[in-house]
Point group: C2
Chain length 280, copies 2
């Protein structure tokens, strides 16, 4: 199973849904839509939406059923990057080699473009797809809203902003990762499985898988960055070897949760491995 080929197959489907939900760059107010599209396209790895699709397949559904949730998690991820770049947050002038949104469009439009991306996540999910059961859409929407909220993504961003650089407690660092990164990765997997029709026991296992994989993903990120700048990093706290070891341990526990799902979960397994062992 070639994980890169899987990405290449799924990404255009995700991009098509994203392109449909965000108005064209010349739709008024044009600078707002241009700003939203500036950060959304071409975008990054699209890991979260592809995880959502693979999770639907892992529970025996066509991956396409997960597309509304796949697009939604990418929109939440993208809004969070946009607001993270703002002068009052990380104050990053560039993202993926191009000017960040506030540099290109001004700070007010940047705040508002992030807001609109977050709203559009729930729009694309509520629009759903013709064959989706409404109760599945509501369950996925609840997962997504919690993953984006004050006890998860946003809460983790606040904790990251105020993290004490002298704190090397691995548990506290992983708690921030769990909120800031892992909650949305878990919601991608859980949400994809919910739209794919998974039963509650399978959903619970996939949630544990997603949280472990999400924390390991963040550790891998810090290893790739060599823990630069970020006071909240396991690499800074434990050194690169111990951080890698911890990520591998988390990866093992994430994969255990996928053992009973058989051959159809192979893309999800490969994506989980990729998210921890990637070099990009």
């Amino acid at each position: 199973m070639d994980v890169y080929a899987y990405f290449e197959e799924q990404i255009p489907k995700v991009n098509r849904v994203l392109d449909e939900v965000i108005p064209a760059a010349d739709t008024e107010p044009a600078q707002l839509h241009a700003a939203m599209r500036h950060i959304l396209f071409p975008g990054g790895k699209r890991l979260r939406p592809v995880l959502a699709i693979a999770a639907a397949e892992a529970v025996g559904s066509p991956g396409e059923r997960a597309l509304p949730l796949a697009a939604a998690v990418e929109l939440v991820h993208t809004y969070s990057l946009l607001h993270d770049d703002l002068p009052c947050m990380d104050d990053d002038d560039e993202r993926r080699g191009v000017p960040s949104v506030h540099v290109a469009f001004g700070e007010a439009v940047a705040v508002l473009a992030g807001d609109a991306l977050l709203a559009s996540a729930f729009e694309v999910l509520a629009k759903g797809a013709p064959d989706l059961e409404p109760d599945r859409v509501v369950a996925a929407s609840l997962e997504l809203s919690r993953a984006a909220g004050s006890l998860a993504l946003v809460g983790g961003q606040v904790e990251d902003l105020v993290f004490d650089a002298s704190d090397t407690n691995a548990e506290r660092i992983e708690q921030v990762h769990a909120r800031k990164s892992a909650a949305l990765i878990a919601a991608s997997i859980v949400g994809g499985a919910l739209l794919g029709g998974a039963d509650s026991e399978t959903v619970a296992g996939l949630k544990r898988c997603g949280v472990a994989a999400g924390i390991a993903f963040q550790i891998a990120d810090d290893v790739l960055d060599e823990g630069e700048d970020d006071p909240c990093s396991l690499v800074r706290a434990l050194g690169v070897d111990a951080a890698r070891e911890r990520a591998e341990k988390l990866l093992t526990s994430a994969l255990v949760e996928l053992e009973d799902l058989g051959e159809k979960a192979e893309p999800l397994r490969e994506l989980v491995r990729f998210s921890v062992r990637r070099t990009v």
Copy 2:
């Protein structure tokens, strides 16, 4: 029918739902939750949630069925005020007589508290209520996400920010009002009616009612402010008498849409009148 008594009866129910969905002010990260609660309580008039409840009653349902949507529209309204106050937007140091969130908690926490309030709107709606049909929740969520999005609330904020002070075209001013104010007011009424079980014809009429009432509400706001500062104001463009006249005309067309709904729509009628003729 005493509209103030109706507010007094409904507001505690709305506040109870809001209080349940937002973690306590000492829940970690405590400054985030304190910031969210700082602007949410005691809050303002709670017009939008009370409109949602009255709309459910107007279509023959207990008002309580609309509570998840009522809380959700108040959360969207509150997040938009919070972000509107930011230094890069209107740069308001006070809101309702107390320091605005960025003054009290810093700019980064203010941006993030707004983000979390927006996410929590979709959380409280997806949590729903035991007797709500999932397809009704999905329909209300779609209305809300569109009302909050780039073609409505956020789009109107961008248009308001860049509005040319020399432009006195009433139609263009009302177009901004339609997006910035009326879309969320219409979504309050429509969403409440959807959760109340309204058929699609009734929903369409309530939408027209909500848009007209929402534009008139914004004109009334500008009359109360005497059009101060805001370049996008019908009062500034036409003078206070013509603006009042236009608001009354819109009010009439809003009330026409409620004619067939009988006695049970009386609270909604009174609220629509109040929203245009209020002196607060």
